[in-house]
């Protein structure tokens, strides 16, 4: 075997390759870094915009999902229909205003879904009311809902009516699913099933001045000549019938309202969509795709980790080399300052730095760097102290090599293994501190897709759903754990005492 002639690097590699867990961690890190670089091309959605504004580009029509424009028309007693535009003042009212927002707009009638649930929506013109059933599907399953009665009509009398006659009024009801109910009895039967605790019944009344009289079961007495007008009511739904009694000439009136559709199903696609094939990690409180946000957040997160630790390492190593090599006053001064910094808990020190500099990504990087410095000073100083006693350093000094060259060429390389191990370990910690700072809202831009601020926003706005906090949290855990395991593997592989 040629063991002792192997370069140290090959030795290190062989030792490292033996550690399965560290290898896996390293593979994960390579993937994470790949994502950080390629996020804009890999992410399915724009992380800053709500997905409903992006569906159009992907061929999904969101207005169909959240808006319905009912088409209402009226019917006159002479059988002609009246278009919506020619109807007098229409009022629209949703029974449960949390489920949909229903109103008249300049362009027509408009029903917009708000939150999951079921509600009837009523359309009223004067004494006439018709309705439609609106279902909004979302997180809450709706269960079984009986289609409501949505329209009533009283078929017009065909023959001329004389004073003193008696007419049995007919009433037709229509349910939201299109089922027809023929006659008052059938409608009352439905009313008893529909709401067993307080059964609904058809009521009749005369709206004219003494021309007609109507009994509670729909028997119409014609008392005098003139225009007769009768209203049937079932719950909120009404219909009218007009009669020309005793040969009177009457102006045709609006007697019923009809819709082209009596039920519609909308969705609550405004926020907190659950994980699905459309959105792998679901959507957040602003309806942004969490998967895309996590991918985009990788870049910021790694940037905080790498850059801050790089700065901290650089400063820490230089100071550590100086302190260890020269000793004396310089050593004292540097070590005391570092002891003061080390006396603070890391996160507190970082918060103090942010409080001093203001919020923002750059300042977070700086804050994390500040708390990385003292650790490196310590370890580099310790190895420098032992390295400068080495014979080859003494030899270099005796032939008059300058201090700066000795430090750079003879001592610094000796400290590298320790620095490298610590570096990978610190990146994990730095990412954690960075995430903690942006979680506390010190990252400046609260809307940025940064893992810590995503968690913070989810805690505030999405405490009722799991996916908004789970996935960014998972991303932090995997990344930090990978760095730590990888660092452990490095340490073991670089340890000379460890046998192959």
């Amino acid at each position: 075997m040629m063991m002792h002639n192997q370069s140290p690097f090959i030795t290190f590699l062989r030792k490292f390759l033996k550690q399965r867990l560290a290898l896996i961690a390293f593979a994960v890190l390579v993937v994470i870094m790949g994502i950080a670089l390629l996020a804009p091309w890999v992410a399915p959605y724009d992380p800053h915009r709500p997905v409903n504004l992006q569906y159009a580009d992907r061929g999904i029509d969101i207005t169909q999902l959240t808006r319905h424009n009912p088409v209402l028309e009226g019917l006159l007693s002479d059988g002609t229909s009246v278009a919506y535009g020619d109807l007098p003042q229409v009022t629209v009212r949703a029974d449960n205003q949390r489920v949909v927002s229903a109103r008249r707009t300049r362009s027509g009638l408009n029903i917009t879904s708000l939150t999951a649930g079921y509600t009837p929506v009523y359309f009223t013109v004067g004494e006439l009311t018709t309705a439609m059933d609106v279902y909004v599907r979302g997180e809450v399953p709706l269960g079984d809902i009986e289609p409501a009665l949505v329209q009533l009509s009283i078929p017009q009398a065909q023959s001329a009516l004389a004073v003193g006659e008696q007419v049995d009024l007919v009433l037709r009801g229509l349910r939201a699913d299109g089922t027809e109910l023929e006659g008052v009895h059938a409608i009352n039967q439905f009313g008893a099933q529909y709401r067993p605790d307080e059964p609904l019944r058809v009521t009749w009344r005369s709206l004219d001045e003494g021309v007609t009289q109507v009994s509670s079961d729909g028997q119409l007495q014609l008392l005098a000549a003139g225009e007769g007008l009768v209203q049937a009511r079932f719950g909120d739904i009404t219909a009218l019938a007009q009669f020309a009694v005793g040969g009177a000439v009457v102006e045709p009136r609006l007697v019923s309202l009809s819709l082209t559709e009596y039920e519609t199903s909308l969705t609550d696609a405004y926020k907190h969509q659950r994980p699905s094939s459309l959105h792998f990690f679901g959507t957040d409180h602003q309806n942004r795709d969490i998967f895309s946000r996590v991918l985009h957040g990788t870049r910021d997160t790694l940037l905080i980790g790498f850059v801050s630790v790089a700065i901290g390492t650089l400063i820490g190593t230089v100071l550590g080399l100086l302190a260890g090599f020269y000793g004396g006053r310089i050593d004292n001064a540097i070590t005391r300052v570092m002891d003061v910094l080390l006396a603070f808990p890391g996160i507190l020190l970082a918060i103090a730095v942010i409080a001093f500099l203001g919020a923002g990504l750059i300042n977070i990087i700086f804050a994390v760097a500040v708390f990385t410095v003292p650790v490196f000073v310590r370890i580099v100083r310790a190895s420098t102290l032992s390295l400068k006693e080495m014979t080859y350093v003494e030899a270099a000094r005796s032939i008059g090599v300058r201090d700066s060259v000795i430090i750079a060429r003879h001592i610094f390389p000796g400290t590298l293994p320790v620095v490298l191990v610590y570096l990978t370990m610190r990146i994990g910690v730095a990412i954690l501190i960075g995430a903690a700072l942006s979680f506390l809202g010190l990252g400046g831009d609260i809307t940025a897709p940064e893992w810590g601020s995503m968690l913070s926003a989810a805690k505030d706005n999405s405490s009722t759903v799991f996916h908004a906090t789970f996935f960014p949290g998972l991303a932090i855990v995997i990344t930090v754990l990978s760095f730590n395991i990888f660092g452990d593997g490095l340490r073991d592989a670089l340890d000379p005492k460890l046998k192959e």
Binding site: H48, R49, P50, N52, L53, T66, Q97, R98, V99, S101, R103, T105, R106, S107, N110, T112, S113, L114, T115, V140, D268, Y270, K271, H285, Q286, N287, G441, D445, I446, T447, D460, N461, S462, S463, T464
Partner: protein, 513 residues
């Protein structure tokens, strides 16, 4: 002549549910969980609704708003306006005693109002009473308030919680000793409950006052304990676990869950809070009305209510809410991106512009600010959201420097249009003098507001207010957003509490069955 104001307001009346718990054996203690620590026990130095709610059981004013926002007499038995609406005379209730034994009479009313109006005393509610010119004691139980200019809203002002009457002994003590802390120790009123203790961050306790003058309104529980709990989830858990009898506010996110929870009764009702985005009209970009209207068209209010308020809200269709006296509905700015783009292009901002949006740093405000920013970005308007602690934000707005866009919320505590509109739109209310932080100056609006206030004919005033609202809505000095609903949770056996649209919760009639 005697003018009664009618308020068309729905409010949240709590209806008792049958309870199976027999709590009669214990001394009855009602636990009310509030969202924050009260700031003061002095109604004249209170501007937050939490403190007003805690003071409610201890203090009474001459009038108050009932659960439909109608004015009802309390320490006054009735009131009369002079014909030109420059004076209002109150007949006072006789035989009323303060908790410290002092008698209530016209002198006390004068003392209270003069003390709060005096700038040297530095009370937070001083400007609220600015309309008063003089307080005249007619006899022991008759007092007249006069104003410099006609003011038909005086009764509404006197029904506000900050027009409560403090004991004359507290005022005398404060006059004698400027170091006396009335915020901590001045909780001496005429209400059915008297002050026991206020421990910071722990609780404020009041107990039934046995010398209370009005048997009809006497305390129905022995003690009320107010506990501040900031975390909404904790408040809700306390309610579900039976540790609290009344909890507010409840975030809309939990509304759907609690609606199906048998351990909790949930009440919702519209508030009078109008949420809006203020625009600084001194900035060039907002001077063109088409830009302001474009911003109004750009925002999908339905989406905002669905997303941020979980459906517990309505679109603001005027600068004041439907429950405010004098409200007139306008045609809302429907969400219409094409229209918004066209208006921006016509105003010369086809490529949009950049702006900064200031918001309070509470969760709801930040979420709304984010939402608005996202929607405006679709039009190329690049909005940067900056969140500040509310006190800091108000100071920045009052300073009036560098204001661009800001999120605001305004609720007139008097429940009427003048206080809903004047502080926000009158040209003499620009910074640092109140809430017109967008520097909206419109002489027609000033004139109509003044004429409406001076009018002693209610219908004429209503017509003038309707006209003002039409002008303001059309002129769009604000981006009109929404009016939230308040959600209050209570134990099923609680009764006798109502929530005013102004956000104050009236707890002095609390009953546990």
């Amino acid at each position: 002549m005697f003018i009664r104001k009618k308020f068309g307001a729905a409010s949240v009346a709590l209806i008792a549910a049958f309870s199976l718990t027999a709590g009669a054996a214990l001394a009855q203690q009602a636990v009310v969980v509030i969202e924050a620590e009260p700031t003061s026990m002095d109604p004249h130095n209170t501007t937050d609704s939490v403190s007003a709610t805690v003071q409610g059981p201890m203090f009474e004013g001459l009038l108050r708003f009932d659960d439909t926002m109608s004015i009802v007499p309390v320490l006054a038995t009735g009131y009369t306006y002079s014909d030109d609406a420059t004076a209002i005379t109150f007949e006072l209730q006789q035989g009323v005693k303060f908790h410290d034994g002092a008698d209530f009479n016209a002198e006390v009313v004068k003392m209270n109002l003069d003390f709060v109006r005096d700038a040297d005393n530095g009370l937070a509610r001083r400007s609220f009473f600015r309309f008063i010119e003089d307080v005249i004691v007619e006899d022991e139980f008759t007092v007249t308030i006069t104003t410099g200019s006609p003011n038909s809203a005086m009764a509404s002002y006197m029904a506000h919680t900050s027009a409560a009457m403090k004991s004359p002994r507290v005022i005398e003590r404060k006059m004698a000793d400027p170091d006396f802390n009335a915020d901590r120790q001045g909780a001496v009123g005429t209400g059915p409950f008297k002050f026991v203790e206020w421990r910071d961050g722990v609780q404020t306790v009041v107990e039934a006052f046995d010398g209370y003058w009005n048997a009809d309104n006497a305390a129905k529980v022995d003690r009320i304990v107010f506990r501040p709990v900031q975390e909404a989830a904790t408040r809700i858990n306390m309610l579900q676990a039976g540790e609290a009898h009344l909890v507010f506010p409840i975030p809309t996110l939990f509304g759907s869950q609690l609606e199906n929870d048998s351990r909790v009764s949930l009440y919702t009702g519209p508030t009078t809070d109008v949420h809006y985005i203020g625009l600084n009209l001194q900035q060039d970009k907002y001077q063109d009305v088409r830009v302001r209207q474009a911003l109004n068209f750009a925002i999908d209010k339905d989406g905002l209510i669905a997303q941020m308020l979980d459906g517990y809200g309505t679109i603001a269709d005027s600068a004041i809410a439907p429950n405010v006296y004098g409200y007139a509905a306008q045609d809302i700015y429907e969400h219409d991106t094409a229209e918004a783009r066209a208006l921006l292009a016509a105003a010369g901002y086809a490529d949009g512009f950049s702006s900064t949006l200031w918001t309070r740093n509470s969760t709801e405000f930040i979420a709304v600010a984010e939402y608005v920013a996202i929607q405006l970005r679709e039009l190329g308007i690049n909005v940067t959201v900056e969140a500040y602690e509310s006190g800091t934000l108000f100071d920045m707005l009052d300073a009036g420097e560098g204001t661009d866009m800001y999120i605001g919320r305004w609720s007139p505590g008097t429940g009427e249009a003048d206080y809903g509109l004047r502080p926000n739109f009158a040209s003499d209310r620009v910074p640092p003098n109140f809430n017109n932080s967008g520097f909206y100056v419109n002489e027609a609006v000033d004139d109509l507001l003044n004429r409406a206030l001076a009018s002693s004919d209610p219908q004429e005033a209503l017509d003038l207010y309707a006209e003002v609202q039409e002008i303001i809505y059309e002129d769009a000095p604000w981006v009109f957003l929404h009016i939230p609903e308040s959600i209050v949770g209570s134990a099923p056996n609680l009764d006798g509490v109502y929530v005013l649209p102004s956000g104050n919760v009236h707890v002095s009639g609390i009953t546990l069955n």
